[in-house]
């Protein structure tokens, strides 16, 4: 029997509130990471998922803890929604031993096997066959689970995605590919590669699988659609594809000169018209006071997580060259001089 607390989010008022809270948690995390970077307290780069929270919360909200998720370079939201602890994420982004990968992965390589988060993959679309294969293997091993693989609109041009959908069609695997069409692949507008929103779903339908489009500024719509599709995927063991239209409200990555290809205030105006968090507050509905209280609680939670992450230690220097191979292999190598 599934523990009630492990049941996926359904459609009761408290379930709907949960989706909202997940979105707020993602927004707060991304905002926190942003300020750590701007404050010079974090190095490297990162890809913010701000504005796309409904895809992560809505789709992953349908999953059981044992279900699997793979993600992209823009995956903090997916990680949080799948249950990764903010402290572990921040520690990883700080390159600390307490990070999910002991500081070896960073922002684009979050993994948390215990949560069923089989990893971001910073090679565009590269994680899709991982999810397909993991779900397929798990079924063979008697586990009743499904996998969701996130991919961007840009990633849809990658050969490996087409190959994986073809192979999913041939072999069958309980996989939902969730494509976040945020209108841009770095500076390339989706209209140039695919066309109007919905064209990507149309393309995927050509693989002989169910493929749907849903607007990504409405977490409840995303959730309804995903829940129905995931139920079907779980029941039939056959793959499906959902295109979620979203809006990238930040630059592609931290130091991307997006003013060269976007109007300067585009992100802001997207948020004014398509903010999934504001929309959820309207639709739940939440009073302004209730919304503020929730946002403040979660903001505090993230601030505490950041403080806790800073308590961590730098990863030991020797870890740079270990953990490349299995422990047994590396031991043999130390003994024999390779």
């Amino acid at each position: 029997m599934t523990n009630p607390s492990e049941m996926p989010v359904g459609d009761t008022p408290s379930d709907r509130l949960k989706l909202y809270e997940t979105m707020v948690r993602i927004r707060e995390l991304e905002t926190g990471i942003e300020s750590l970077h701007y404050g010079g307290r974090m190095h490297g780069s990162f890809h913010s998922s701000m504005g796309q929270e409904a895809a992560a919360a809505g789709v992953i909200g349908c999953l059981r803890p044992t279900d699997l998720v793979t993600s992209t370079h823009r995956g903090h939201g997916h990680a949080i929604a799948k249950g990764m602890r903010p402290t572990t994420i921040i520690a990883e982004l700080l390159g600390l031993q307490q990070g999910s990968s002991g500081g070896k992965g960073g922002s684009m390589h979050l993994h948390d096997v215990a949560c069923g988060f089989l990893g971001e993959n910073a090679i565009v679309a590269g994680g899709v066959p991982w999810a397909a294969g993991a779900a397929w293997a798990s079924r063979r091993l008697g586990k009743d689970l499904v996998a969701v693989s996130f991919v961007g609109d840009g990633g849809v041009a990658q050969g490996v995605l087409a190959e994986t959908l073809r192979m999913a069609r041939t072999w069958g695997t309980p996989l939902l590919v969730a494509c976040e069409n945020n209108h841009l692949a770095h500076s390339m507008p989706v209209e140039r590669t695919f066309g109007e929103p919905g064209s990507i779903a149309g393309w995927a339908a050509g693989f002989g699988m169910r493929a749907e489009y849903v607007a990504g500024d409405d977490v409840f719509a995303v959730h309804r659609m995903a829940a129905e599709m995931i139920d079907e995927v779980r029941a039939t063991g056959r793959a499906a594809f959902v295109e979620i239209e979203a809006w990238r409200v930040r630059a592609h990555s931290l130091n991307d000169p997006d003013y060269r290809y976007l109007a300067k205030d585009l992100g802001k105006s997207y948020l004014q018209t398509h903010d999934p968090i504001a929309n959820a507050e309207r639709d739940l509905p939440l009073t302004e006071a209730d919304a503020t209280a929730i946002r403040e609680r979660i903001a505090r939670e993230i601030a505490e997580a950041i403080d806790a992450a800073f308590e961590g230690q730098a990863a030991p220097v020797r870890s740079a060259t270990t953990g490349v191979y299995s422990e047994a292999f590396e031991q043999e190598g130390r003994l024999r001089g390779w």
């Binding site: 990893g119 779900a135 073809r166």
Partner: protein, 326 residues
Amino acid sequence: MAGELKYAEAIRRALADELATDPAVVVMGQEIEALGGVFTATQGLAERFEGRVLDTPLAESATVGWAIGAAMAGLRPVVEIMFMDFITTAMDQIVNGAAKLRYMSGGQVAVPIVIRTPSDAGTGHGPQHSQHLETWFAHVPGLVVAMPSTVADAYWMLRHSIQDDNPVVFVESKYLYFRESGEIGATGAADHPYAARIARSGRSVTIVTAGRMVAESLAAAESLATEGIDCEVVDLRFIWPYDREALTESVERTNRLIVVHEAVGDFGWGGEVCSWAASELFYSLDAPIRRLAAPRAPIPFASHLESVIVPDRSAIESAVRDLARH
């Protein structure tokens, strides 16, 4: 296990025995079910192990990615890439996925997959079906690169590779599939899994090689013996990790070293072995280290052109003769 097997049969038997022993093993690749593999390596296995030896669509990249996912979920997939040249289409999944996942997940996952793939010239397959690319994989941290030269090694090294918790690129010899026969024996011969094998003991020159060049080197050694040049032939078996202890011991005996491989010489794995030997074995050497490998050209179709490219016993003989005189 009495009786002689061909190299291809040894591969098949290793797959069968692993499938029989470990329920986590699955075999995936193109034309491996009904056809039994273009080199017969999986013949009869799909019938014997129902649902575990599976044809994929022609999609190498997704196939390797799928195997990676399956490995993370607890299986031990063996992927067949029909010809080594085709592995280029799966490079991302091998290099950025299989090789790096353990590291970039901080040890949370292992990727115990084997990618079997045949290489070699000598069979008239031309430029896109003959190239030796093992150096690429030996260059990538996280991968093991195996290259068996005998029937026994084809069997035991494959079995070990399937049980290895690291991703292994397993380079088979399509030249030897049906030419090389021998016995499997009761156990693998080596004293540790990645040990080199002294294919012939000798005192004048160490020939370090692997794959089908072992047979060519042994043939060269026999005729050189009649001239009083006593070659030691070291079959590396693994390109990574390569057995530095065995190389050290051998060169300390012979004081002369030549590396022979079928892959292109420039930037090839022989360069790595030579460089390592030059810095670590310098005081044991009586002569400059030599390298004999393919020139910088693809593998041509016509046999007489191909023989210009691929080292053979007579090329090895003259290179070794030269080195021995030094």
